[in-house]
Symmetry: C2
Subunit: 764 residues, 2 copies
């Protein structure tokens, strides 16, 4: 056997061993049932191919000295990666118990898929990993994100048969149009076709070579196909393909590799019952899974294990043979030790511009996101040399009023452009593509390799990446439990173009459910902010971009609107997360009849307009106004680190007074966060009730019972002691609302008294 | 002008008119500001291309008599579709106010993007529409779903520049591998490239012809490219391309068309300020949007409108010229009138097999999904001739224990297969692809054209389609408000392989958040069921498959487990949605110290095991056991139609007694649904706390405080009058749990006393 073949044999052996064995891991004695794990768990099918990929990349790195990050789409092939990490010594570097000897080998083998040990999939516990691979589809976009602005890096990315069928992966093949070869690294996709997913042949696996070539050529790649089954020396064929790809790395059409290899190659051809294994989907997970109970399967398993000749691969003490360890790169060049895979170590704090220059004066009307855009442009300029800050956006930067960024940078695009274009450049640091999946994947890869970013998005469509965010939240949660992982910059969303002002797009563009999705996350991972004006948005964005390890969801308005707080007041308000706006209260704010609370741009406008209405129509009513920026301050402090303690909570919301709460999203989100607070039923939450179409803002608010008239009516109805007097006032308010809506139907627009309402009493 | 060109001019004119005009809609007098809508809303850019597509298809239908359904990806081009619907008379058929004369024309023009009128996007209010197009990416998969099992149908599908960049669309180009030409119709994709999305050139728009050809050839299509800008007669060139595609409809490589046309063609070349319009992204939405205030823009708009020569297209009474109406197909062949677009009219009730033969006896241990699979196989056989029932699944049918279906049908696959495959056939009615997006899109298209289906999915990964489901829920909600739309079969999810038993896959495979997403939906649209055993699953699935107009989420276990109810009891329990399991209570169930409630397979097992523990360790404790199948019965009846009234609720949960609630998903979902019930803080909900990894079931339960020991401990701690005695019992229970977990860590598996626990007292 050649040295590379021996290396692969060692990795394959260790992969099988991890899945099945708890003892006798080097087969120094005959295999007996008690040597087996009680429940063999893992996925063999993809392992031998991954071992070929990994060992081939080792060779490339040794020959070229090229720093290489491996993104493994088939994360269920974790045993293969573990085997390589142990052989190259990365495992021992972060955990001495995984030493490069028999003891470490036994520990590795036992620890895989064992309670308290390594999960069956790649995960943050595994060095070199920035991608879990459990939910398939995102490896390639992540790889491109990792390569952005890192010209010294090669990112190799394995995409499996199954993952290739997903939409996000299919879109990712177009990514070279967004990666600037001058300022960024290289991405080498490796489409690993073993022909089957869990139970069926795959789309790409069944495509003949000429179709694969046409498809990837059409995407702009220069594809090469390596067929292991047809190669005399698979390692040599693979090494040659990698060398060729490396040689062509600067070609106009970048190289990509298709690796065909029989699924689970190396396993027995059939099980004792005659079911085919190697080369079929039956090798996907655990072939011979009844070996502990079935002597024939046990014998087949032992025969399989011994076919790798472990006695020739490992020394007497269990350490790998010397010719094997010599095949791995050294130090930081080991695939598991590349610094970019622990990006928190590389992360530098952003040079966040001071806010003063951008703050908005009271009494002016501005777009909060436009103001934020000016500040973000300044940040973009401040990072021009560092190139560690990017904005990803699904073709909505200008539509979200963030166009000022284009004064500081351009949209990244390397393809041929049409006859007319604006603000396009290969090195641009705004990434616009009409795919939330790509935006998310790029940003994940960028953050996890130590950089910073922002994802502005239409609020309704960010749910497209719910699945990805679920997985990323898990990755962050687990990363926080791994001592050697340094925290990465937070994943920051700026959700705007929200449903309350989607009069030109209508019902499909109205959906605030991402907030609800965030509330299912671990309390250490997710934050939700609803700054009500430009200054609070500036403060919030600055704090989010300075934070680490979180998913920050910031919901803000893009339309021109009133400014409630000057910068100092905004700083104080955001620091508290929620507070009484005393200047907006009526009567004695210490003894209110009702609390009017609000969270979000439109609810804040409507609430303060409701107070104005109440001053006119119920002047004796004592109203306290509370604004909430940090939604999670509402949670009991025992449930959430941002939760106000009961004293702070009572200072805002009292202990028994009715609260009319105007909320930007679904009322259920507030009810859910409030759970555990005393007497939650005194909170009457108004919010989005899934009523919508293309109509005027007032009509939309009215349909969802969130207009100023509805809020004021609710206030007098619920206010303590107002049950009788409140009824008539409420009826009058609702009558006015109906009249105004009727006028909007006749005129096609809201009446001036609605749209031109101003709040002139803003104060700090 | 040729007749087709005149037809298009009429459609283009009407499209512009809808966006801008409220009066003087035929320009019988000079255009004045008061003729304009106060806020012009709509998207012009895609309209002229859509009008070319639509009028060309009209010609094809007239020449061939082929029934054709149009799926319009760029739903923001609604004005174009409205113009065609009015011209062909479909609009007048469903609403006499939209008559084919000046009055109807004026009404159509005014109604677009007007309060109470038509939304700016396509929507269920629009005849011929089965796809909204607001959230982009799903048109092509929907089109394929519509074509399945309908060999007489041609589905033409427009995919725009922007949509083409999305992942779901990129994956959809591979769909021909799943559409059987013998049993299904034909799909003709029309990739409409006008070069720009909102603000940038597009990926596909900038691909040169040879790249496009290679790409689509690689996907298995035979692409043809039509460039309007280069054609002497665009209508003739387009008609010829359509005729060619029709002629090749049965070719091995099916035809697809790429239509290049300048964005917003027909609009002025520039605005008065010199900004380019036609042929650039500046024509995307509303060019000249300040026409009401800017005389130069007003003049440009009038010039633009008059360039279509409306006086030559519409008669004195405003009706379209006779040569125009002759160009549209007639009756059901009109694109807007094709019966498949109102699929509820075609839907026939399924021949649902009686359950008796499949019901499971008490005392046996079976997999609930395997039992369901046998019944579904019978349903598959019963629909073999009708071919109106399909199962879509992301490569997990067998993994979800539904493999019995493959005894009745096969997996659909028309591509070349590898050397080894099982249960593959072109006409198979199980659709397996590793793309939740494709599964969802196919099923939506299938249901909306009058058929039935089921979507089994790993619970954690169904969130991948959160965005699609949000949109579908909106489509259903709006459809219910349209009198002429007949209800379609419900969209049924069977979520299994849930997180409580993902010991081989770990943390990434644990995520019950889809339930939370469903709870944000309109109360008339979504249902959530958690049948605890095989018989209740049978009843639930049967009822879901008989229902219409809903999204039903059924969460069920796949592992072998105890059967709690015989079929009669299951029928009664599912009809009630929730109820006391008297046979499981201890002491007097009418006067419990604590209620132990449960919803979901694993929580039910753990709860009944907790009762067993309590019988031993706290024999004096009076425990009432309540099981919840229909989660929404917990909601107050004023908030949800399934909500129990307060009397029924009290019969289950009392009015003041503590409730320990073991829930399958996030506890927040229960808190949210319970909101509005009196004294909600007496409910102590245990559920998934986002703690997970590859470990044993007991360890996972313990980490989330949902093991039988935790539930029993919570019961004695919270039970009325047990505050002191309960403490010691609780400590003992938790000590036992810790000991058992420690043994699992040592042995790698749960101890037999956990895994082999049986409930032997099941009874109806």
């Amino acid at each position: 056997m050649t040295a590379p073949a021996r290396y692969r044999a060692a990795c394959d052996y260790l992969s099988v061993a991890q899945i099945y064995l708890r003892d006798n891991v080097l087969l120094r004695e005959p295999l007996r049932p008690e040597h087996l794990k009680p429940r063999p768990l893992g996925h063999w099918g993809t392992c031998p191919g991954l071992n070929l990929v990994y060992s081939g990349l080792n060779g490339l790195v040794r020959r070229t000295g090229q720093r290489t990050l491996l993104v493994t789409g088939p994360g269920h092939g974790a045993p293969a990666v573990h085997a390589n990490l142990w052989l190259e010594g990365t495992h021992a570097d972060v955990d001495p118990a995984l030493s490069p000897d028999g003891r470490g080998l036994a520990e590795l083998v036992r620890r895989f898929s064992w309670p308290g040990g390594f999960p069956s999939h790649l995960s943050p516990e595994v060095p070199g990993v920035i991608h879990e691979g459990g939910e398939l589809g995102y490896a390639l976009a992540t790889a491109f994100g990792a390569a952005l602005d890192d010209p010294e890096l090669l990112v190799a990315c394995v995409v499996g048969d199954g993952e290739a069928e997903t939409g996000p992966t299919a879109a990712s093949w177009h990514c070279p149009r967004f990666l600037d070869p001058a300022t960024g690294g290289r991405v080498l996709p490796i489409l690993h076709l073993n022909g089957y997913k869990i139970a069926s042949p795959t789309v790409y696996g069944t495509m003949p070579d000429e179709q694969l070539t046409a498809y990837f050529t059409g995407c702009g790649w220069s594809p090469r196909i390596v067929d292991v089954a047809a190669a005399d020396d698979p390692d040599a064929a693979w090494a040659s393909a990698l060398d060729g790809a490396w040689a062509d790395r600067d070609a106009e059409r970048p190289p990509m590799l298709v690796l065909r290899s029989p699924k689970g190659m190396g396993a027995p051809d059939t099980d004792p019952g005659g079911t085919p294994l190697a080369g079929t989907f039956h090798a996907h997970q655990v072939p011979l899974e009844h070996a502990a109970d079935d002597p024939a399967e046990l014998a087949a398993l032992e025969h399989w294990l011994r076919s790798y000749r472990p006695e020739e691969l490992f020394g007497a003490d269990g350490s790998p043979a010397g010719d094997l360890t010599a095949l791995a790169p050294e130090g930081d060049l080991r695939l598991g030790s590349v610094p970019q895979a622990n990006g928190g170590r590389l992360r530098r704090d952003l040079p966040l511009p001071p806010l003063e220059k951008f703050a908005v004066g009271l009494g002016t009307e501005v777009s909060a996101t436009a103001t934020a855009g000016e500040w973000l442009a300044e940040l973009m300029r401040a990072t021009e040399r560092r190139r560690d800050f990017r904005v990803v956006c699904p073709d909505e930067l200008e539509s979200n009023n963030l166009g000022a960024l284009l004064s500081a940078t351009s949209r990244a695009f390397t393809g041929e452009t049409g006859e007319y274009a604006e603000h396009l450049a290969a090195g641009g640091r705004v990434m616009e593509v009409l795919s939330e999946h790509l935006c998310q994947g790029w940003l994940q890869g960028y953050l996890l390799t130590g950089r910073h970013g922002l994802f502005p998005c239409y609020e309704a469509f960010v749910s497209i990446v719910d699945g990805m965010v679920n997985q990323y939240a898990k990755f962050l949660k687990m990363s926080g439990e791994v001592p050697w992982r340094a925290p990465v910059a937070s994943l920051n969303y700026l959700l705007t173009s929200d449903g309350w002002r989607q009069e030109h797009n209508g019902y499909s563009h109205q959906g605030p459910g991402f907030i609800n999705a965030m509330l299912t996350k671990k309390e250490g991972v997710a934050r939700v902010y609803l700054p009500p004006d430009a200054n609070t948005l500036l403060v919030t964005l600055r704090d989010c971009l300075a934070s680490t390890g979180l998913i920050n969801v910031v919901v803000a308005g893009k339309q021109s609107g009133p400014q409630w707080l000057d910068l100092d007041a905004a700083e104080r308000h955001c620091r508290a997360g929620a507070g009484v706006w005393e200047w907006a209260c009526t009567g004695d704010p210490g003894r209110p009849d009702v609390v009017l609370a609000c969270a979000g741009t439109t609810p804040t406008v409507e609430t303060l307009a409701a107070v104005t209405l109440l001053r006119e129509r119920a002047p004796a009513l004592r109203v306290r106004v509370v604004n909430v920026v940090d939604l999670l301050t509402l949670a009991p402090s025992r449930r959430h680190p941002h939760g106000m303690d009961e004293r702070e909570f009572a200072a805002c919301f009292g202990t028994g007074v009715p609260v009319v709460f105007a909320f930007h999203g679904y009322p259920s989100a507030v009810h859910e966060v409030l759970h555990g607070r005393p007497r939650p039923n005194r909170f009457h939450v108004h919010g989005y009730l899934e009523e919508g179409t293309t109509t005027t803002p007032l009509d939309l608010l009215a349909d969802n019972r969130m207009s100023r008239y509805d809020l004021a009516a609710a206030a007098v109805r619920h206010a303590a002691g107002w049950s009788s007097a409140g009824g008539a006032v409420a009826q009058g308010l609702l009558r006015t609302r109906k009249e105004l809506v009727a006028r909007a139907y006749a005129d096609g627009a809201d009446p001036p008294e609605f749209t031109e309402w101003r709040w002139s009493q803003c104060s700090s």
